[in-house]
Symmetry: none
C-alpha cells in the first residue's frame, strides 16, 4: 500500500530488534498479504518473534514477503505449527485478542493495560504470547479458552472491523510505548520520542533578560507610533502582548529576529518616504 | 486486505458517527487505496470528517471506495481542496503527524498526549484538524510550519515506516480511548474545567484564515521593508516566523492586535518624518 513516513523516520543502521518481546501468534491466517502487513507492524514496534498456526496457503508465502515492506527477517524467522497448542508449548502467559466477550469467565483488558502487563511479565522473565485470529471470524471459542486473558480494543461499535495488521499494530504500539519509556533513558532518539516538549535545534530558549529587552524595544516603538491611543489602556495592552509572546516560548534566535523585524518595519518606510 | 474481527465486534444498529471529532486532512495522497484504508481506520474510531488536499489521482476514486471496507459515508462526505491553507480556513488548532523533528522550534507530542489534548479542545468548542502527509515523504516543512504542534509516535527507530492508514489508526485510537472512557457522562462545562490547555476569556482562538491573513500582512510589510535581504533565505525565515506565532496559539483578538501593531509601526514613522 505504499510507504509513508507519516509519523516516523527510519534509521537503517540500528538493530532491528530491541530485546525480549511478546510472541505474535497468527492463528490460521488466510491471506499472505495479511501475514506480511502484520510482520511490518511487528517491526514498527520492536516485536520479532512470529508463530504461524496452519496458514491456509502454506508457508513460505511470496505475498507475505511482498506486503511486509522489508520486514523480511521476521518472516524468515517465523515458526510454523500445525496446531495452536503446539505453538504455545513453552509459553507462560497468553493474551487472546478478540471482539466482545465470548460468554466466558475470563478477564478482559484493553491494549493499554496489556502493554504494561506485558512489560511487567517480561521483566519477570515470563514468556508471553498474543493470539490473533483468522480474517473471517477471529479466534474460535476453544482457542480463546486457552488464553489467560482477553484483549479488546475500544472501537466504534458501529464500525468495529479491524484487520489483523491493525490489531497487531495496536498491541505492538501499546507494548512499545512502555518500552520507549524505559529505553528512552538509553538513546537520545527514543528519549526525544518518549519525552515530548519543545525542540530547539541549533538554538536555545531565550533568557528573560533577552525577552524583556524585546518587550522594551517593542513598547518604545509602539509608543513612538502612537499605538496606545490612551495612556490608561496601555498597561493592559502591553500585558496582553507580553502574554502572547510568553506563550510562544521564544528562542534566543527568534527574539533577535523579532527585534530585526521591528527595526525593518519602522525604518524602511521612512526611507521610502524620503526617496520620493 | 480482508476483514478481521480481531479485537472488535460490529453492531450495525448503532449510529456510525459519535459526535464532534477531529478533522482528518490527507495532504496530497497518491494512492486511492490509502485513502480508503485511512477512511476505514477513521470509522473504527468515530472520526468522520475527511478533507483531501490535491489527491494525485483525482476524486472520487473507485479504489478508495474498494479499500474502505464499507466506510463509504466518510468518502462520500469528504471535502476536496486545491491547497492545504484552504482546507484549514475555519480550523482553530492543527496537529501535524511527522517523522523525527524537522529542525523546527515546535512542540512534539505523542499520539496519547494528542488524544487527551484533542478531547479538551473539542470540549471547549475548538475546531481541530490532524494532517497526514503523502506516502513517499510525508509533509513538507512549509506544511508542518502551519501546524500548532507535531505528533510523533514512538516507534522502533530501525523500522519506522508506517503507512497513512496506520498513522490514522494510532491517532484515532488514542482519540477514541478518551472518548470511550467518558462517552455519555460528561458535560462540556466540566470538560472545560477538567481539561488542561489555554483559557481564552472574552475571546476565542483565531481561525486559521485569520492567522494566515496576519502572516500575509506581515510578509507583505517585511518585503516592503527589505527585511529579507536575499530571496533564497525568505522561505526559511517565514517558516520560522509562522512557527513562533503558531506556538502562541493566538486568539482572534491578538491577531487583530498584531495587525494593528504592524500598521502602526509602518505608518507612524512616515507621519513623524512628514511632520519634521
Amino acid at each position: 500500500m505504499g510507504e509513508a513516513s507519516a509519523m516516523a523516520g527510519t534509521d537503517k543502521t540500528r538493530n532491528q530488534t530491541l530485546g525480549t518481546a511478546p510472541i505474535v501468534v497468527l492463528v490460521n491466517p488466510q491471506l499472505g498479504e495479511n501475514i506480511g502487513t502484520a510482520a511490518r507492524a511487528m517491526a514498527n514496534f520492536g516485536l520479532h518473534e512470529l508463530s504461524i498456526v496452519a496458514p491456509r496457503d502454506g508457508w513460505p508465502n511470496a505475498k507475505a514477503f511482498g506486503a511486509s515492506s522489508g520486514a523480511h527477517w521476521i518472516l524468515e524467522g517465523a515458526s510454523v505449527f500445525d496446531s495452536l497448542s503446539s505453538a504455545l508449548k513453552d509459553v507462560n502467559f497468553i493474551y487472546a485478542t478478540t471482539a466482545r466477550p465470548r460468554g466466558m469467565t475470563k478477564e478482559v483488558i484493553t491494549p493499554e493495560q496489556a502493554g504494561s502487563d506485558m512489560k511487567a511479565r517480561i521483566a519477570r522473565g515470563e514468556k508471553i504470547a498474543v493470539l490473533f485470529g483468522r480474517e473471517r471470524w477471529g479466534l474460535d471459542n476453544d482457542e480463546v479458552s486457552l488464553a489467560d486473558v482477553i484483549v479488546t480494543a475500544p472501537v466504534n461499535p458501529a464500525f468495529a472491523s479491524i484487520n489483523i495488521a491493525q490489531a497487531v499494530l495496536l498491541v505492538g504500539y501499546e507494548w512499545f510505548k512502555n518500552q520507549a519509556e524505559t529505553l528512552g533513558q538509553q538513546t537520545p532518539e527514543l528519549a526525544a520520542l518518549a519525552g515530548p516538549g519543545l525542540q530547539t535545534p541549533d538554538t536555545r530558549l531565550a533568557t528573560k533578560e533577552e525577552l524583556f529587552g524585546f518587550f522594551n524595544h517593542l513598547e518604545r516603538e509602539l509608543d513612538e507610533a502612537g499605538f496606545f491611543k490612551t495612556g490608561d489602556k496601555k498597561p493592559g495592552m502591553m500585558r496582553n502582548i507580553r502574554n502572547l509572546y510568553a506563550r510562544a516560548q521564544l528562542t534566543e534566535q527568534e527574539v533577535r529576529s523579532l527585534r530585526g523585524m521591528i527595526a525593518s518595519l519602522t525604518r524602511a518606510h521612512v526611507k521610502r518616504k524620503e526617496a520620493k
